[in-house]
Structures are given as C-alpha cells and as structure tokens.
Symmetry: C2
Subunit: 549 residues, 2 copies
C-alpha cells in the first residue's frame, strides 16, 4: 500500500525542506529537452497529441451517460475530442462511494499516490505542453513549462504542505496527570485524520493545470475525492491529468473514482449543481470575482479557495538601468499577451519624469521607452509568436478594441503570428482615471501620470487593497523610498518585485519559494501553498481511554 | 521591545513542544492553594472581588461615552459594577488607530506581551475565580479552574500555536536559479506578516474566559487589535482580562486600545454592528447555532470561528466496573448542572440490558444505577452545591420544567444549595424519540433504549454528524465492537472517551493535548488549538529583488 510512498520519500522530504527554507528547488526540469525527458519525448508528445485529436477520450470505468467536448485551438483547428460526461448527481455518487477507502488508507498511501501521479505527469510533459498550447493559446515553450513542470511543482508543493500538516502533531500520546501523592491518571490517546468531504476543483481557460493542481492535490492528499471541472474550452490538459490519476489510484488498490472529470458544455455548465451539493465541502476556484461572489453566496456548505481578478501595478520612480528596465517590462507585458494573473496592467510614472542612468527621462520618454522595447522584442515574427502566443477568449480581442478609445495610444495592439493574436496596447491616462481602476484582462496596459513616486506607490497599493492584486513591481534607486513602498505594498497584501532586469520577471511565481496570492486582498484567499490552504481540508478526531496497567 | 519575550521564552518553547507531543503539561497550577499562589492569594482575591462590587470599573484611556453593567450573581446578589461603554463606531475607530503599531512591532514583541498578560492573569486567578463564579453560576472550585488556570492554558496554547505558525517558514531567503553555463539568477526575498484586520471576540455566559481566550490571544499574537464583547451577564471576568491586557500593552510601548471592551445591555446589544463592520476580519463566537447562522449570513467580510450547540452522547454497551461507571457518569451529569458544552445529554443503552462485573443488568437497572449514583454523589448538601453550582440563565430552569413531561422520569431534578439551582433530571425515551434529537441545554439527560450496542453507536454518531457534538463516551468490553465505535465516532468528527472511571471525566478537555471541537461536525469550526485556528489570522507578503553582487 505504501510502495509509492517509499519510492518517493526522498523527493517528499526534500520538498518539505524546500517549503521551509524557500530557496530555489524543483525536481521537474523546465527545459523541454531530450536531455531531461528522453530523446524521443518530443516526437512522442507530438504523436500522442495528434492521436488524441478527433477521437473519443478514454477514461476506463468513469461514470458516463454521454460524450461532450468542443475545444477549438486559439491557433486555429478544432480538437474534436469527445470526453465521457455524466450529470452532477452521478459524479457526486461516484465520489461518495470512493470516499471511505480513500479516507481509511491513510496519509502515507495517499501522498505516495499523489507523487506517483505527478512524476507520471512529468513524463508526459510534452503531451501536456501541446494540450495546454491548443486550449489556452500559450506558445509551446510556455505551455510546456506552465502546463507541465511548473504545474507539477505547484502540485508537489501542495502535497508536501499537506504531508507536513498531517504529520505536524503526534497521532498518539500517553497523557499522565499527577494526582499529588495518589497514582497519576494515565490516558492513552489516538488521533485519526478525518477528511472534510468531496472536493470540487474548478479549472480556468488560461492555466488549466497550473491553477488546478494545488487544490486537486491538496484535497486528494488529505483524503477527499476530487471532482475536476475543467473550463469547457480547456478540457484536455485536465482530462489527461484525471486519466493518470485514476491509473495510479487503481494500481494502489484504491477506487479510481477518487478523481473524476466533470465535462460540460458552454451554456450548460454543471458547476452550480456540483458546487451546491451538500456533500461538497471543498471548492477550489480560479476565475472572475462575479462567480467567486456567487460561490460565497450559494455554496456556504463548503470551504472556498479562490484566485480572482485584480489589477497588478508597476511603479517607476527611478532606475540605474533604463534600457534593462524597459526590456524587462516589455517582456512582462508581451508574455502570453497579458493573460497571466500575474501580468502587470497599470504603470505609474511621475508626470515630471524620472532620474535614470541615461539622464532625466520625461513621462513620455519613459512610456515611449517601454513601447519601443516592446516593438524591438516583437520585431522578429517567430520570436513574437513564441512570446505572445494567442488569445484564449474571443472576448479579449473585443476588449482591446474598446480599450483603444479610453486613453492616449502610446503603442497600438496588432496581430502577431498565427491564430487569434494581439500584441500589447499601451495607453496613457491621468491619475484617478476610472479606466485604470478595474481589471482590463488581456494585452492592455495603462501608463498613469502621477505627482511623484510616493503618489505612484499610494495609488498602486490602495488599488491593490481595494480591487485586489497578485503582483506589483517597483523601479527605484532611493532606499528610504523603496522601504516606504515595501511597507505600503505589504500592507496591501501584494508580493512586490524590485528592480527586475534580465531574465527574471514580475509575472513569474516560483513554487516552493513564492507564495502565489497572499490572501490579504480581494485577488483571492488561496495562497499557494501556505498552511491555510491545506489545514482546513481535514480534521482530527481523538479517542482516549485509561492506559492498560 | 522584546523584554517580555525573553522573560517567557522558555515557557513558550515548552508550550510549543507540548502542542506537538500532546502529553500532559501546564504552567498554571489548577489547585486553588496558597502553596502555588501565595499564602495571601485567597484572601487577596476575595477582598479584590468585594472591592469591585457596587463601583465603577476603571479602564484608563478606554473609549467611554457612558457606563453600563447589570450583572446579577446566579447565587443571589447583584454585582452593581458599572463598566465604561462606547458605541460600535468609537470602538472600531480606536482599534483601527491601534492596528499599525501592533502590526509593525512584530511577532516576538506581541507573543511576549501575550504571555506576560497570561502570567499576570494567572496571579489574579482567585479574583478571576470569584468573578467567574458570580457571573456563570459555577461553584468556586470549578470557577477558579475554568475561569483561571484552565482558561490561561487555552490562551497560552493559542499563543504557542500562533508563534509556531508565524515562524514556520523562512522570513528571508536567497533564491538562486541555475542558468546552464550562464551566471545564475539570484534574488533576495523577504516576507512580512500581514495581520488580517480587526478581531471581534464574542463571549458566552457560561465560560466567559475559557471560551474567549483562544480567539483573543490568537488574534492578538498575530497582530490584530481585539474588541472583546462579553455576554451582558458575564462581563467582569473579561473586563479584568482587558484591564490586564491594556496595562501590559502600555508597558510594552504599544497602544492600549489594541484590546478593547465592548459592554452592552440585554436588548441593546452592539454585537451586530461590530460583527458587520467592514474593518472586522476575524470573529470568534461561542453560542447558539441561530446566531452562528446569522453571523455566517451577514458577516461574510470576516473569517468566523465558532463553537455552537450540539448533542453529546454516551453509549453503554458493557462494563467491567459497573459502579465505577455509574459514579463517573453521575459526576459528568451533575458538574455545573450540565451547562458545559462537553456535558453528555443522551445515554444509549440496549433495551435488553448489558453485561457487567455485577452480572447482567437490565435497561432499567443501568438507568437506575446512574440515578442512584447521582443521588449518592449529591447526598451531602455542601458537596452537592460544590459540584452543581447554580444555573446561569433563568430560561434553563424553565426548560427543565418543560422537559419533565417529555419522557418517563428516572430521576427528578431538585434545587441544590443557594441561589438558582437544579440537580440532573433523568428521563427514559425510546430510540428515535425527537426530544433526544436536539440540544436541551442544562441538567437534563435522556436515557434512550436501543436494539443493541451497535445501534447505540449508530444513533449517537449519526446524531453527532447531523446536529453536532463535542464529546462522546463509550463503555464496552468487546474490542472489535470498540473498534467499530471508534471508527464511527471519528467519521462523525467527535472526540470519544472510552471506559472512563475514577477522577477523569468525558467533560474534561485538556489544553495542549485534547483538540477541543474537531471542526468536522456542526458543533463548530474552531478547533482549540489546531493550525486552522491561527493560520488565517495573518498573511505573508513578499518583496524580492536581485541580490547585490
């Protein structure tokens, strides 16, 4: 029963240690190279993806009353894959039936199963890369990383945190209370871990695996059967995940139905009946504030973990590397066409300009410098396509059109490469302009003129506290002013990156080191992966009795 | 700033260790003796309590627009103490003003302050005992323990858990990501702890300190100003607590308003405006399911930790110590007249009787044995008064009168000692009788006839899962049947005591060892003190920047 646990024990222990020390660590190489994944991995992944297209996706033993699936790649072709589908009551019944065995098998076996699932997912990272690319619109290099090893990292992080928490306190104790000169009272105590119930993981269109794995693996490791509800436009990466999970569960002698796939169609979603079922006690959700509010209002029987919308900001106060700063920001704004939850939107610049290593730069010169850096970055069409990828949702393209009229255009958006694409639109607006007070999802950024650097910090941090933010960036050379900004962004509960240049970007969040989402502002309460993310997924029940004499 | 921390560091470290090993430990002696508390402590406590009666309660610098207070001892006399009172907006404003300094001072200083408060409270345990006795109706010995050292234990447990969690992960790290043959990317990272907001602790009438200290100290240690809202009938124990807390805060150079008292009058409570204020992010509540539901429905801006009503059960299947069992249950039913959240209510006995060391005992013989043991325990009037104490709320007496008609009276309730008192009422009902399906708060117990021992377990555990339960007890000699019961009660999320006899009782919950309330059934979500109880009271915000070369 614990063969998988023994096999992965060293990785688990290293992961737990990494969580505590928070330096760089990963067991899953992020480079899509045969050196790490085997010489045939690239071709195998491509072939496997091709074989899946236009066919029935097989999930042996899975509840199935009909077939659904209408995914269309943002790069063009329809995937044509039909998945097994069942209604909410059938899925709840299957999960309920799987629950006792999953609870009873205990933490070691479950954690072993989880890590075995993750290592098998790692082996098919090329396939997951293609599946992610053609459901999200990410270019392949990013789809491989974000859909494969980086998602696996976040899954492993959740498993390690769950293990650390499940083993935090003694599971048995001898309690000996002195009674003066009389014999002490001696009790034996034992604690059992009691899973919370059925878990529902609601996936998003842009990061189907990266945003789903933490909840999925945290719930599974702590003993809760998981129903995985993909976005109708991004089913395949999670269907592959569910298939691997069910194979490993079955090999471990556990019910495959401990992990289920809930496929639905746009306009006929089954999210609401699943989320409000009394047996569902855990919900992990990535998406809009509107549906987050709906869940909080209607699924009160469940613990709800969310990542929701926010407005990420950059405050530019000064720099000793003006071209490095512009190049870094150009990449952050262009990567996956601003469709990352960590992508910046508002750029605050003093209206009188800033000091730089290239001398004083006016507001327009700074804005123009960023625009020029974007142009340079995207000047080669192949590189541009490889950075921007495609637009996941047609509504995002429409949003760019609307946004164009909302400010002074510093740099216009344009198609880039094959499929539904758009490069960044850069608009100048005044401080306090309401267009910069809400999320404008996609490749749209607002350059906001402020009185001075401290006003930039005040506006950005206040917006984060009110509307939510996952990331913030600051460029400055004045240490006391940096310290004030650090304090302001911390109070707003935003993770702040200072003076990034080169090959590291504000959008990037590293597992085992960066807590993704702090939980301290409206961008969500799910912090990946802190204690609160795992601790309420199970409870402890004791029994005690007098110790045998 | 960290003088208190250094002074109490050894106690803190031992407390953290005790939390993890979960054996017996306490730094606060539970015996009201001059040997531990000083020869004059008893007289000093009595004199201090006498001096407070009929006067103005002083809280220097506390917001005050008027005076309130109408406490009447369940043992007779009015206390006549007038407390400073202020409306909800004034209290919120004072807490808001105190928040930045409390957040900025950091975990060490706050934890030091918390433990200093607890040790000073320990020194006035006799005064707290009198204050608890004359607001709750607990007899003095129990009031001393539950209002003094046992409450202090639970407070210290929360502080230790908060410290353990606040220091769980590195607060700074060097993140070094290899770049093949190029130089690695090296970032410095720092994490700040961000308190959740203002905390509201809503006290109850029966255990004003024991049930309030965990939330109060967990919130304060993690940096959240706390507004303490006592039950209007049990203000004094919490007013004394707030006074000590404000003294220590001031000595540490922190705003005294980081702990505030919210006194109100019955029928003019300020709980709702406090609980729904947008600045209040944490609510700790002990009381009815009805008000718990109201909070969940109306204070969605806050994390809510509750202990609510439930029905605790005893399943009697067999015993090898019939008189020891009856004596043990007699005490559990009589102690504080059944007004503990851990007191048993339903006693399930097979209708065909049970095997015992005194031979086969019929259903009526078992019920009669418990009744006779209660009579024997309470035969001496002084001892009876010292065990039963008085009835906190007049409604409880009325409930006993109503209950008398709901079943076959096995043992009638009667006054016991001075004041508003009542000994246990014991009624026989059939399995499935709806009267035994809900909490009947006070000294009322139902003896329920079942088909057999397994049905007893099934009924008791199912009721716990549906209506909530904090404790359960089992008497049995058959190990396989015990194992089945252990599993059933664990699934229902109830802590189970097996075969208790002698001087240890199902009602007792020991800090640092027993998690009080599992969080896994409707009796509440606040488990004292597990990780979930502290982890969401603060967040972590990072800043990172390229490491200096």
């Amino acid at each position: 029963m614990t063969g998988f646990f023994d096999r992965h024990r060293a990785m688990l222990e290293t992961a737990v240690q990494a969580l505590h020390t928070r330096g760089y660590w990963t067991p899953f190489p992020e480079i899509p190279s045969g050196k790490f994944y085997g010489e045939t991995a690239k071709a195998d992944g491509q072939a496997a993806f091709a074989a899946l297209q236009g066919g029935n996706f097989d999930l042996p033993g899975h509840p199935e009353s009909h077939r659904l699936g209408a995914e269309i790649s943002p790069f063009g072709p329809a995937l044509g894959i039909a998945y097994p589908a069942a209604d909410a009551p059938a899925l709840i019944a299957a999960a309920t039936a799987a629950a006792p065995a999953l609870a009873d098998v205990g933490p070691k076996a479950r954690v072993g199963v989880c890590i075995e699932i993750l290592t098998r997912l790692n082996r098919i990272s090329f396939l997951l890369g293609h599946a992610t690319m053609h459901t999200t619109g990410q270019a392949f290099a990013m789809a491989f990383q974000a859909g494969g090893p980086h998602a696996q990292d976040r899954g492993l992080e959740a498993v390690a945190m769950a293990w650390n928490e499940m083993t935090r306190f003694a599971t048995e104790a001898r309690w000996e209370k002195p009674q003066g000169k009389a014999a002490p009272i001696v009790l034996e105590k034992r604690w059992a871990l009691v899973p919370a119930g059925i878990a529902l993981t609601i996936g998003c269109n842009t990061f189907p695996t990266w945003n789903s794995y933490p909840g999925l693996f945290a719930s599974l490791a702590t003993g809760n059967p998981v129903i995985v509800k993909p976005h109708p436009a991004a089913i395949l990466p999670l269907a592959l995940t569910v298939r691997v999970a069910r194979e490993v569960l079955a090999e471990a002698g556990l019910p495959a139905d401990a992990v289920l796939l809930a496929v639905d169609a746009p306009g006929a979603e089954i999210t609401k009946p699943l989320a409000t079922d009394p047996a569902v006690k855990l919900i992990d959700y990535t998406g809009s504030n509107a549906f987050g509010d709906w869940l909080r209002g209607n699924a009160a029987q469940a613990q709800i973990f969310t990542e929701e919308a926010g407005v990420n900001s950059i405050a530019i106060a000064a720099t000793d590397d003006f071209s490095g700063m512009c190049a870094n920001l150009a990449f952050s704004l262009s990567l996956y066409s601003g469709q990352m939850c960590t992508a910046p939107q508002n750029i605050y610049i003093p209206r009188d300009g800033i000091d730089t290593d290239q001398g004083r730069q006016s507001f327009d010169e700074v804005a123009g410098g960023i625009a020029a850096a974007i142009d340079a970055l995207l000047s080669d069409p192949a590189r541009a396509a490889g950075i921007c990828g495609a637009i996941a949702n047609p509504a995002t393209l429409a949003r760019i059109d609307t946004a164009r009229g909302l400010g002074r255009v510093i740099r216009d958006s344009a198609p880039v490469g094959q499929g539904r694409t758009a490069s960044p639109l850069l608009l100048a607006v005044a401080a306090g302009d309401p267009v910069a007070e809400a999320e404008c999802f996609g490749p749209v950024a607002f350059v906001v003129a402020t009185r001075d650097a401290d006003e930039s910090t005040a506006l950005a941090s206040s917006l984060a506290a009110r509307k939510g933010a996952i990331t913030a960036a600051l460029y400055d050379t004045d240490e006391p002013r940096i310290a004030r900004a650090v304090a302001a962004f911390a109070r707003a509960g935003v993770n702040l990156s200072v003076n990034l240049t080169g090959n590291i970007f504000v959008n990037q969040s590293a597992a085992f080191s960066d807590f993704h989402v702090t939980g301290a502002n409206p961008a969500g309460n799910a912090s990946l992966t802190d204690t609160a993310f795992v601790a309420t997924r199970f409870h402890r029940a004791m029994w005690r009795r007098p110790a045998a004499a």
